[in-house]
Symmetry: C2
Subunit: 334 residues, 2 copies
C-alpha cells in the first residue's frame, strides 16, 4: 500500500480526517473562537520527521539535523500563510549522539525564526529519529491558505527553484562531505569553476531548506490564494493542489527558475534535469495559485509556471511539445 | 549526560524553556486569550514516543501499539487536568508493518477518548518508531494543574497501583505472549490460580495504561491541586513534584495499593516488590497533592500516600523504619 493509498483509505474511514488531511497543516478551532472563523482565528499545526538514513544521510552534524528539522516544518507553516509560534520535539538518538550540539542548533534556529520550543520527549534509539510539531497563528491581517481555493484561470506560481535540492542529495550520496568546515565535492563532480559552485549550492539547498514564511504571509493577505510547499516533487505536489481545487494545469517547462545552472550540472553528471525538477522533491519552495490580476512582488523572485484550467488534465510543455504531467514523485511508503 | 542533566542544561540555556518544561504538558497562550489567563484559557500540549524495543517489546500488535501510544499521551493530559481535543501522529515503520491495523486501533481509541486525529507524517524506518502530539483544553469550570502548586501540609495521593506495570513488562521479557487471542504466561510463572490472575493483570496493565482523565478533571476543579503522572517511577516522579513545589514528603510505604497481590507475585518470581513500586515506572497513575480538607471521591479509588513537608527531605517509612527516598527511576538517556 502506498502512502497515497493509505491516506485515501484513512479519509474514507473518518469524515473528520477527510477534512483535516487536505493541507500542509491542520487548522484547529480553539476554545473561545467562533468555529466559522477558523481561517483567521484558529491555530495551524503540522508534524514532520527527519530520520537518519531516510531524510538525510548518516553522519550529518547534529546541528544541521536540528536546523533542517525545524526548516521543513516551518515550510509547512509557510504554505499555510501561518506565523510560527511554538514547537514540540520528539528526539530518539543513539548513546553517542551529541544532544547539546543538536539543541544548540535547534534553539539558535528557533530564535532566528521567532518560534518557541515549548516541550518534547527524549528516548534512546539505534538510529537518530526526530520529529517536530510546529504551531502557527494566522497571518496578521490575513487568513490561512487552503489548497482548495485555486480556480480555473488562476496563474500558477513557483516561489523558488526546483531540482537543485535533489541534485544536492545525489551529490551527498556520491560522497560529498564536510571536513573541518570545508565542503568536499565527490570525485565524480567537477572540483572548480561554475559547475563546482552550482554543486555546492545544490548541497546547501538540500541541507538547509529555506521556509518561505514572508511569501506565505504575503499570500495570506491577498483576496484569494491557494498554496502548498514542494516536498515530494513538483509533479506530485501540483497534482495535490489541482485535486484539492478541482482544476487542471498547463505548465510551461521551458523556463523553470535556476534551470540553466541545474541543466549544466546535470549534463556534467549524466543526470536528467527534468526528472530532478519534476520528481526530485525536498525543494520546499511554495507552489501557489493567484487570480491573474495579482502578481507577487519582485522581491520574492517568484516565477510564473503556467495557468490553471477547468479541464482537469495537467499538461507539461517543453519546446512546443506538450505531454501529460504524470502524478509521480516521492511516496514515503512505496 | 543523563536525561535529567540534559534538561537542567536546557533550562539554563533558555529562560522560556525553564518555564515551559515544568509540567507534563506545556500550556500555550493562544491568540485572543489574555496571557494572564493561561490556567483556564490556553491549550495544553504534550508529545511522547513509543518505540519498538525501547517502550515495548518487538512483535507487539500494531493495534496495541497505537492504543498504548495514545494512552501514554492522554495520561500527560490527565496530569494537567486537561480535556483531550486533538492528536497529531508521527509514524515511521518497516515495509511489512500493517498500517491499517495500526490506524484502526488508533482511530477506535481516539473515538473512545473523544480526541480527534488531525494530521501526521509517515515515513519508512528499520524499526517501528511512533510519537504523538496531544492537545487538551482546560477542564470545564476549572484550571490546569501545575506541578508547582503543592504546599507543606498537603496530603499526597496516588490514583492507582504502582509496580504492576513493571511486573508485567518483566513477564513479557520472560516470554509472555499472545497467540490466537490467548495470553500465554512464561514458563517461569505460575500458570494457574491467583498468581496467574495477578500476572495476567500485570501484563495488561503494562500494555494498556489507563489515563486517569476523570480524576484529572476533578482535580482541576478543586481550589488547589498539584499533579503529575507516574511514568518514570514513583520515587523519581515524586522528587519532580517536590522539586517544582519546593517541598519534601513523608511517604507511608506499608500500604501501597495493590501491594499484597503484587508482593505475592514478586515472591513467586523472586523480584523485589519495593523496587518495582518505587522505580518500575510506566504506572501512569496520577500522583497528586491536595489541601488536607479535600478528599478525592471514593469512586476514584485513590490512596493516601503521605504528607508533604516544609523540610525538603523525602522519607519512605516501612514497618516503622524510615529511610531517605532515593531520587532514582527510569532515565531515558542513561
Amino acid at each position: 500500500m502506498t502512502e497515497g493509498e493509505l491516506l485515501r483509505w484513512l479519509r474514507r474511514r473518518d469524515p473528520r480526517l477527510e477534512r483535516r488531511l487536505r493541507n500542509d497543516a491542520a487548522v484547529l478551532p480553539l476554545d473561545r473562537i467562533d468555529p466559522a472563523d477558523i481561517a483567521t482565528g484558529g491555530m495551524a499545526v503540522t508534524v514532520d520527521h527527519q530520520i537518519e538514513g531516510v531524510h538525510f544521510l548518516p553522519g550529518l552534524d547534529p546541528d544541521r539535523v536540528a536546523r533542517r528539522l525545524l526548516a521543513v516544518n516551518l515550510s509547512d507553516l509557510a504554505a499555510m500563510g501561518a506565523t510560527p509560534r511554538y514547537a514540540l520535539l520528539a528526539l530518539a538518538a543513539p548513546a553517542a549522539f551529541d544532544h547539546q550540539a543538536f539543541f544548540r542548533g535547534l534553539l539558535a534556529a528557533c530564535r532566528h525564526f521567532d518560534i518557541e520550543l515549548v516541550g518534547g520527549d527524549l528516548a534512546r534509539a539505534d538510529r537518530l529519529h526526530t520529529s517536530l510539531t510546529a504551531f502557527g497563528s494566522p497571518p496578521a491581517g490575513g487568513r490561512f491558505l487552503p489548497r482548495s481555493s485555486a480556480r480555473p484561470g488562476d496563474h500558477l506560481w513557483l516561489g523558488g527553484a526546483v531540482g537543485l535540492a535533489a541534485a544536492g542529495l545525489s551529490l551527498l550520496r556520491l560522497g560529498a562531505r564536510w571536513e573541518d568546515g570545508t565542503l568536499h565535492l565527490p570525485e565524480a563532480c567537477p572540483q572548480r569553476g561554475a559547475l563546482a559552485t552550482i554543486a555546492r549550492r545544490a548541497i546547501l539547498r538540500h541541507l538547509e531548506p529555506r521556509p518561505q514564511l514572508a511569501l506565505g504571509h504575503w499570500l495570506g493577505r491577498q483576496s484569494r490564494a491557494a498554496a502548498l510547499d514542494i516536498s515530494d516533487g513538483l509533479a506530485l505536489d501540483l497534482a495535490r493542489l489541482c485535486d484539492e481545487s478541482g482544476v487542471g494545469a498547463q505548465v510551461d517547462g521551458d523556463n523553470l527558475p535556476g534551470g540553466d545552472a541545474l541543466a549544466a550540472l546535470c549534463q556534467a553528471m549524466g543526470w536528467e534535469t527534468t526528472h530532478l525538477q519534476l520528481e526530485g522533491g525536498e525543494d520546499y519552495a511554495l507552489l501557489f495559485a493567484l487570480p491573474p490580476a495579482i502578481q507577487p512582488p519582485e522581491a520574492f523572485q517568484c516565477h510564473r509556471l503556467g495557468t490553471l484550467t477547468a479541464d482537469p488534465r495537467r499538461t507539461w510543455t517543453v519546446q512546443g511539445r506538450s505531454q501529460p504531467l504524470r502524478r509521480s514523485g516521492w511516496d514515503h511508503l512505496s
